[in-house]
Subunit: 405 residues, 2 copies
C-alpha cells in the first residue's frame, strides 16, 4: 500500500543533510543540521497537505484531517536527530515511513475517522543534550518543560536558546492529545537478521539505568612518584570499566552494560590522573534482574575505590523501568505483518524510544525492521529498500486499522 | 650567600601570574600567562644589569659579564611554563634561584672568570605542546628547529605562531655556547622528605619511553547489541591501562608506568566506543629493565587486542635513555652541600629536565630540594622557604666554583 521508491528517495534526500565521511549522518539535536532536516520535513508535510504545528519543546506535529476532526489523532513518528557519527535510518526511517503512509493515504483518497499525525520528537538521542527522549518525555510529563529548556549541551549551549535559534521554539502546548501512538524503527541489533525475520513485533522495551561516576585520586608527577604511593584515578576507573563489562557478561537473559564516555583530568601525558568522569548504561528486560545489576555495579565500584585508595561517587542520571506496549495494538501489528505474509517474531526493544514514554500515556506499539549486521549508532548503519517498504506497509495497515475508516 | 627573603618574594610574585583556585599555577607553554611570566623575568634580569637575548626557539638567556667575556658562559636555569594544574615551584624555583645567585653576585661585587647566564627554556612540561623539553632539545640538536616550530597544540595553535604572538620568536642562533650547565629543581617525589635530607645530589636521570596507543573496535548501539558480539574499544583500552599498571608494579628497581591521557570516540553515553586513544609513559633508571618493560607492555597490548577482537596500534612518541650527569660537577654539588653542613644524598631524577638534554652537550649537574609530601604536577605543590634557600646556596657555591674567580 505504499510507494517504496518514494520512501527510499526521501530517506536519501534527508541523508544529504549532515552527511558524514563514511556514509552516515550527523544531525545533533538542535544543531544547524538538525534544523535543516526539520525544515525539509516540514516542507514535505506542507506539500502533502498537512497542517504543521510546533510545541514549546520543539516537537513537530504534521496533521492530516480526520472524518471527525474533533477526535484525538492517531500519531505516528520518531526523530530526526542523530548520534555524532550516526546512521541514515535510526529515527529517520520512522519519521519518513510515517510521512509515506500519509502520502499514500492521499494518493488513494483514503479518509480516516481519526485525524492522523506525523510527529518528530525533539532530541531523542540524548547525545548533544542528555538524557534521551526529551521531547516525548516533556509531552508525557516525565520531565517538566522548564528543566529541559535549561539543559546545557557538552558544547555549552542551552537547549531553550537553541530552540529559539533554530526557529523551533513553538507556541503549542506540550499537553498534546493522542488517541494512540505507532513508531516504526530499525531494530538496531542483530536478532531479526540472524533469524531471517522481516518484521519485529515489538512487545515492549527493556529497562535502563544510566549513571555518572566521578573517581577522585591524587594528581602527581608521572616520573618521581613511586608506583606504590599512587592514587591514580584512571587505574581505578579502568578497573571499574572492566567491572561494568563483567556485570554485563555475568547476567542471565539479555543484559547490556556500557561505558560510553570517559574523561580524564588533568589530561596531560606526564601527570597521574587525579580525576576521571565516566558514564554507565545498564539495561535488562526484567526489572528484578536490572535491580540486581545495579547492586553489583555499585558494590564493584565501592570495592575498587577502596582497593585503590580513591573515592568514587555514583550519581543516578536517568532511568526507566521495563515498559510493555499495549497488547491490542501489538496484536494489530502482528496481524498486519501476517496479512502481508511477512515473516515476523515478537521482540523486546533493546533501545529506548519515544514510544517508551508515550506508552505511559496512550496505547502504543512499535514495528521493527532488520538493519545490516545489526549495526546502529554507526555511520555504516544500513537497511535494504525492501525491508524499509515492508515496515512502512505494516505501519500503513496498523494505522488505518487504528484510525478507523 | 643568598638573600632568602628576596628569593621567596620573587617566587610569590611569579606565582601571581596564572594563579589557580587551589593555590597552584597555570602558565601553559607560550600562553598569555607564560608570556606574562617571561616578561616579568626579563624585567628582573634587566634590573639586575643582565643583557637578555632570545633565540629562535624562544629560550631566554640573561647574561652577566665575566672577567674574560670571550669564554663560554656557565649557564644556570630551568623553565617557567607549568602543567594545566601545576604548582608554583616546578621549574620556577630553578629559574629564580639562578636569578638570586646573580643578584647575590652583584650585591657582593663578585667577578667571575666565565660569564654567567640564567636560562629559561621553552616548553619544558610538554603538556600544551608535546613532547617535553623542546627548547633544550633544539639547542642540543635532539630536535630540529623546523620540526618544533611546526608542532601543534591540543588547542590547535602552532608553536612557531605562538612564539611570534607572544613576542618570543628571537633572532639568536639556537647553537648556544655553554661551558657548563647547572639546574636547581624540586625533587617532585618523596625520597628526600621521607629520609629527612635537605639536598639531593642528582647523579643523573632515569630513562623514559613515551607512546601513543590507538585502539579500534566497532561503534554500536549500547542497547540492542548483545554483550558477546561487542568489539568495545574502551573495554579493551581499560584492560590495557590495567596492564600498564602491572608492568609498573611488577618491575624491580624504581619503575614508573602511567597513562595520563585517554580519549574515547564517539563520546556518547549510549554508543559502544569504537575508538580509544591513550598515552603511555614508562620510566626506569636501568636501560635493560626499561627495554624489558617496553617488551612486556607491547606484548600485553597485543594479547588484549586479540582477546577483545579489536586492533591496537602503538606509536613511539618520545624517549631518552638513562642519562648520567658529569661526575666532577656532581662532586662539586656534593662538596657545596657538605660545606654548608646540609644533610644530603645522591639521587636519580625521576623526571626529565632540560638538564638531561644539555648533559649530552656540556658538563651538567642538578641540585634537588625536597617538596611537601613529594607532590608535584599538582596545584598544592609546596616547599619550605628554608629548603629553597639551601638549594639556592648550593647553586651559588657550585656556580662560583665552576665559573672561576
Ligand atoms: N533508539 C535510540 O538510540 N534511543 C536512545 C536511547 C537509548 O539509548 O536507548
Ligand atoms: N620536570 C618535569 O616535569 N619534566 C617534564 C618531563 C617529565 O615528565 O619527566
Amino acid at each position: 500500500p505504499i510507494d517504496a521508491d518514494r520512501l527510499w528517495d526521501s530517506l536519501a534526500e534527508m541523508a544529504k543533510i549532515g552527511a558524514t565521511a563514511k556514509g552516515g549522518s550527523c544531525r545533533l539535536a538542535l544543531s544547524d543540521e538538525d534544523k535543516a532536516g526539520r525544515d525539509l520535513f516540514v516542507s514535505w508535510c506542507e506539500a502533502a497537505g498537512c497542517t504543521v504545528t510546533v510545541d514549546r519543546i520543539g516537537n513537530i506535529f504534521a496533521r492530516r484531517r480526520g472524518r471527525d476532526d474533533s477526535l484525538a489523532p492517531v500519531v505516528m513518528g520518531s526523530h530526526l536527530d542523530t548520534q555524532p557519527t550516526g546512521g541514515r535510518f535510526d529515527g529517520v526511517f520512522g519519521v519518513l515511513a510515517a510521512l509515506e503512509v500519509v502520502r499514500s493515504l492521499n494518493d488513494r483518497g483514503v479518509e480516516t475517522l481519526h485525524p492522523v499525525e506525523v510527529a518528530v520528537w525533539t532530541n531523542e538521542e540524548g547525545s548533544r543534550f542528555s538524557p534521551p527522549m526529551m521531547g516525548s518525555g516533556v509531552v508525557t510529563g516525565i520531565f517538566t518543560l522548564e528543566e529541559i529548556l535549561d539543559k546545557v549541551a557538552q558544547d555549552g549551549a542551552r537547549l531553550g536558546d537553541e530552540l529559539v535559534r533554530t526557529g523551533y521554539a513553538g507556541e503549542a502546548s506540550v499537553d498534546h492529545p493522542m488517541h494512540a501512538y505507532l513508531e516504526a524503527h530499525i531494530e538496531q541489533g542483530p536478532v531479526l537478521e540472524v533469524e531471517g525475520k522481516e518484521i519485529g513485533v515489538v512487545t515492549g522495551a527493556q529497562g535502563q539505568r544510566w549513571y555518572e561516576v566521578t573517581v577522585t585520586g591524587v594528581e602527581a608527577h608521572a616520573g618521581p612518584t613511586p608506583m606504590r604511593l599512587r592514587r591514580d584515578a584512571l587505574v581505578a576507573a579502568s578497573a571499574m570499566v572492566q567491572a561494568v563489562q563483567r556485570v554485563g557478561l555475568e547476567t542471565a537473559g539479555d543484559p547490556c552494560a556500557t561505558v560510553g564516555i570517559l574523561d580524564v583530568h588533568p589530561h596531560s601525558r606526564n601527570v597521574i590522573p587525579g580525576r576521571v568522569f565516566f558514564t554507565v548504561d545498564l539495561r535488562h528486560p526484567n526489572a528484578d534482574t536490572l535491580a540486581d545489576m545495579d547492586r553489583r555495579f555499585r558494590a564493584a565500584v565501592a570495592e575498587i575505590a577502596e582497593q585503590q585508595g580513591v573515592s568514587a561517587e555514583i550519581a543516578d542520571f536517568w532511568h526507566f523501568p521495563p515498559t510493555p506496549f499495549a497488547e491490542p495494538l501489538v496484536d494489530r501489528v502482528r496481524e498486519a505483518a501476517s496479512g502481508f505474509g511477512f515473516s515476523h517474531r515478537d521482540i523486546v526493544s533493546g533501545a529506548g524510544h519515544d514510544a517508551v514514554y508515550v506508552a505511559g500515556k496512550v496505547p502504543t506499539a512499535m514495528i521493527f525492521i532488520p538493519c545490516e549486521d545489526g549495526i546502529s549508532h554507526n555511520e555504516v548503519e544500513n537497511i535494504s529498500p525492501a525491508d524499509g517498504a515492508r515496515g512502512a506497509a505494516v505501519l500503513f495497515e496498523t494505522l488505518v486499522a487504528t484510525a478507523g475508516r
